[in-house]
Subunit: 251 residues, 4 copies
Amino acid sequence: MKLLVSNDDGYQSPGLIALADALAQLGEVFVVAPERDRSGASNSLTLDVPLRARRMDNGYIRVDGTPTDCVHLALTGLSEADPDIVVAGINHGPNLGDDVLYSGTVAAATEGRFLGLPSMAVSIASHEPRHLDTAARVAVQLVTRLCEQPLESSIILNVNVPDRPYDELNGFMATRLGHRHKAEAVVTGQDPRGRTIYWVGPAGPEQDAGPGTDFDAVRRGFVSITPLQVDLTRHAALETLGRWLTGAAVS
Amino acid sequence: MKLLVSNDDGYQSPGLIALADALAQLGEVFVVAPERDRSGASNSLTLDVPLRARRMDNGYIRVDGTPTDCVHLALTGLSEADPDIVVAGINHGPNLGDDVLYSGTVAAATEGRFLGLPSMAVSIASHEPRHLDTAARVAVQLVTRLCEQPLESSIILNVNVPDRPYDELNGFMATRLGHRHKAEAVVTGQDPRGRTIYWVGPAGPEQDAGPGTDFDAVRRGFVSITPLQVDLTRHAALETLGRWLTGAAVS
Amino acid sequence: MKLLVSNDDGYQSPGLIALADALAQLGEVFVVAPERDRSGASNSLTLDVPLRARRMDNGYIRVDGTPTDCVHLALTGLSEADPDIVVAGINHGPNLGDDVLYSGTVAAATEGRFLGLPSMAVSIASHEPRHLDTAARVAVQLVTRLCEQPLESSIILNVNVPDRPYDELNGFMATRLGHRHKAEAVVTGQDPRGRTIYWVGPAGPEQDAGPGTDFDAVRRGFVSITPLQVDLTRHAALETLGRWLTGAAVS
Amino acid sequence: MKLLVSNDDGYQSPGLIALADALAQLGEVFVVAPERDRSGASNSLTLDVPLRARRMDNGYIRVDGTPTDCVHLALTGLSEADPDIVVAGINHGPNLGDDVLYSGTVAAATEGRFLGLPSMAVSIASHEPRHLDTAARVAVQLVTRLCEQPLESSIILNVNVPDRPYDELNGFMATRLGHRHKAEAVVTGQDPRGRTIYWVGPAGPEQDAGPGTDFDAVRRGFVSITPLQVDLTRHAALETLGRWLTGAAVS
């Protein structure tokens, strides 16, 4: 098996290294990752300027682009043979609820969708994780399971692992994404030259974080696994929308 | 009514100006847009550095960030009162099928979701449009309709308008997103100093572009309107995933 | 006469427009300027990525690069015929003393040196200038004088104009660059996520700002004109250095 | 003795590591360097956004800014005690003649000038150097010599070392900067989307590269050492300029 591994924290991230090292027991690992921290990059793709790729001493390839660029390049040219799976992470910090939309880690996994194979994004629920080995072991288990028993190919698994010893995990749980309230207000300040600056504020408090959500699972010590879809169409609304449009028709 | 207008082509884009001018007949328009072209930015949010906002002579506010940053700032601090709707565009070039995932225009609309109001992304199906007035008129019609007859609040409308005179439109059509084949291979080249560079290749050919898709509607001269969801959870897969996980359980 | 005009504040800067408009009375003006504010860019030249140039409605060409990139491109390819002179500005804010080293405006002028023609950087001594017409008129006078009576070709004139009505100028003065004390301490802060950030502090107080310096001339209401050299060799030290090196010789 | 070491190739550059390791025999080495390659940055200083500094496992501090930012931060806040000398390098590739103006390595050294101590920029004359130990040994010799026998404090030494074994060096030579002809024409191309792009072309051929120049010394196997000045005023032209200005006087 050939595994493509990427992330958004950059090619030097301990989480990436832990993931690549652990997955090496399952097959050939090919790492293509950003040269620096690109958290928050979402699915941003670089079209205006060319990218450069450089093979490091440890065999990793670093790219001066976004997580999406890394996986895109790997799948459309850098790699000699197509990988069998894309695994992104281990992200330092959780990717839960609405935050998934901004996540470069999830975006890297998403970019693997044209393969027709499940992809996986793995995050650990602490910004300064102490138990990367726990998350790495979970990743190995899930990849192994995907090989034995494939899921529908268009599903992306968003995996969040509590930052605790493996033996203290309470199990695996299939979850839906929770939701947050509106983000906190922008933080307004001044630079040393007296000009106004704005910092994007903290994420809002949890709004839908009860049983069944990823927030709840992680809080209770479970590995949260959310199936994500890449089809953004809200199919259930198509019929309603069709009727609604008759009232807005071209006159 | 107060309308927040943004885009990803930058505050000087003719598409933005046409949209803002047309919507002014419906209420107070508040424009917050990127200082330069940020196409392909997806939902990228700037957390590492502060943002700056500057009011231009025409009242527009330009921000040195992404489309998502612009709407985020407008909704969490820049604007005195919450707008009633967010409209992004008019993008020069279509946002159809899989490309929606990378679109800064759609991302700007998506960022309005915390308002609990429908948002709308408007694109015209030509990179050098000649009929921006057509798309602007369509936007006015759809916003008017949303006021009269609200849709479920979490729906985002992704609107693509053929680049032709309004009278030559064939109507409005509710569509699903089509899909493309895998992207073309990366384009490998050399810079003038002899070093290898990689350009992200063109989007792949259409794979699912038949009746019912946005690709098909636009090709046939209809305004394509796709309801998008912001909930990325694939709810239909939750039960299957739950069973599947029993085979990967923590040992 | 053909005049190449550039700046570092960006192609929309009122100072650039005032300069280009005024110089148009002397010949054909060709404007190539950065697409956004690139103050502090110094002589930074973009080698890693390609540049894009776009002709705007007013005939200006904007480039997504540094001031140095703009002039470099104009002189090595964009322009059909070589210009006769390079004029950069009008910078909003002074470029005096040690600050010249960081200035993108002065760098744009410097990049014209391969022409074998004098270049000129023009700044107005206020960040929110009210008398751009004064500085524009000074620029016209100096360019006119350069045509009548050329200076040695490798000299770059660094011109700083007080922000006051032309009639209230006290004259022109040939000056040397003054010097500042060490910069103020870095301003340490925290971003909203609690991480430490550092802002480059304000420039230090003036150390050598007495009679004969550019600081002094501007303070006293004169137009300060400093001849700059592009040869960074300290010729006077060559002999001493030669002797000194005998004590460090390869053993 | 406390030595501040920086560069423009980034904190992982073998040249930086070789320099820091070698200088450690002379005193306490404090490394503050850019997080990624910033060649060509010149004296660019970051004023718009804050900087972040991170101490790496090997004690180096990496900064997400330019070479000038790194030295500026180190001297105005990061470092507890002022260093006694600033050494920048070892740059992979020469910094000779006109190219010095664009060099981030030389800029890093220049930023040390407020200390009132000589600074030094060290480059090796090959982009893929094989004899970094030669350049490191030369740096140690020169720093040792500066301690024994200080030079005038405002002098910056620009050192270029041939890429050959130390025993094959022909000696040290005090040089002036040579000069190049105008740069080669811009290289025009197209991106994969058919849009025109421009690459800055190669540096021009040597024009003034005879005996006494840095070009000549390195070509002949000598270590070239050029004294640079930070005072950009062309003092010799002040009197002429004063007379010249009488003809451009305020009317």
